[in-house]
Amino acid sequence: MDAARSARLADLIARTALADQQAFAALYRETSASLFGIALRIVRERALAEDLLQEAFVAIWSHAASYAPAKSQPMTWLIAIVRHRCLDSLRRRALDTESLAREDDQPELDIASDEPGPAELLLRGADEHSVRDCVERLEGGSKQAIALAFFQGLTHAELAAHLREPLGTVKSWVRRGLERLRGCLEQAGAIR
């Protein structure tokens, strides 16, 4: 994301913290479509994704003062708020429907067929040494597991079912993948 946009979003968040409603409205206009795309991909249900987006923006209004520009990019902060809300909601629903899920070991993955899949998303506009590039370089199993977990909010158990691999294998793919990812990004940082 370009620096000018980051600076503008950080300014809108700072003004939101001072209860500036126009800044809050502008922040919503600028970021809601990106954040909604992310939420929709994780919860896969429009009405629920809209409820969660609403909850997230209520939280953004209330906690804007806790955003520290020196510590994270504004979009990173906003994405984290939305993703964690979506993940919490998915996990709550998974608990509610645990018995149903056991009968159907194939997790529901009904994203519209013209939507890019996780693997394709990795390749979209990936700069060399960017996180997408680093994920792309991982071994097959790790790459698939991390992309599915990130883009679709799958748990270890759901990943195992989806990839038809033992739970332990999937867990170690995720763990090793994240370790390699860190190494790759640190190396990329050193090159830059």
Binding site: F36, Q54, R91
Partner: protein, 234 residues
């Protein structure tokens, strides 16, 4: 679980990365979020991983949400279009108020009705308090959050709080002793729920330096570091 201990670094990295990725169990997620709230090393590890993975999320194509999401947000927060809030609508639109009104008779109702018309359009302007020392720039900026009784305080520069002491926020009513509104962290940044009507009735706030745990007497005992007037921005 002391995750910031050097021996546990690898474990912290693993938990933080899986937290950001989203594969931790709900219990583990809640637990690590709670630890991060009081351990800055853990918080920094989580932030670092959120940052590393955020680049993935930016590849997701945007989708415009329905307009009812924004309407819902505004309603939930009590915000109205045009940047005003409708906190003041609540008392005169309440059933109890009109019930009381019905016994005062039609003429009185008419008179009150006229008075209400003149009261109603007053917008609830943002209320802020800039807390500053007698000489020098602002130390803490406080903003009333519309639609709530909450005051959001933000330290705008490092505050010098000696070990074993704490900052305490006071309401300074006209002609009455100061009333404690709560303790502040050394950062000066916190959100506090105020007793109803505090900012409407009190002309100024102050911050004093008190022993840890707050003033033992219920009145400020240490030096008053910062004061500020309650200002309504029109």
């Amino acid at each position: 679980m002391n995750l910031s201990h050097p021996d546990r670094r690898a474990r912290l990295q693993r938990l933080a990365s899986e937290y950001a990725l989203g594969t931790l169990s709900p219990r583990a997620r809640r637990r690590i979020a709670r630890i991060a709230a009081r351990d800055p090393i853990v918080a920094a590890a989580l932030r670092e991983w959120e940052w590393r993975l955020a680049g993935l999320a930016e590849a997701v194509p945007p989708v415009t949400p329905s307009p009812k999401v924004w309407t819902g947000i505004r309603e939930q927060l009590g915000l109205v279009e045009g940047g005003r809030t409708d906190q003041r609508a609540s008392w005169w639109s309440s059933l109890a108020f009109w019930r009381g009104l019905s016994v005062t008779g039609a003429l009185a109702a008419l008179a009150l009705g006229i008075a209400l018309v003149s009261l109603r359009p007053e917008p609830a302007a943002p209320t802020i308090v800039v807390l500053a020392p007698p000489t020098g720039g602002p130390a803490i900026v406080a903003t009333a959050i519309p639609g709530t009784r909450d005051l959001a305080l933000k330290g705008v520069r490092p505050l010098d709080v000696p070990a074993g002491r704490t900052l305490e926020l006071w309401a300074l009513p006209d002609g009455a002793p100061p009333r404690s509104l709560g303790l502040l962290p050394a950062s000066g940044t916190i959100r506090l729920a105020l007793p109803p009507g505090t900012l409407e009735r009190v002309p100024a706030l102050a911050v004093s330096l008190e022993p840890a745990g707050g003033s033992p007497t219920g009145a400020p005992t240490g030096p008053v570091l910062y004061t500020g007037r309650v200002e309504r921005m029109l």
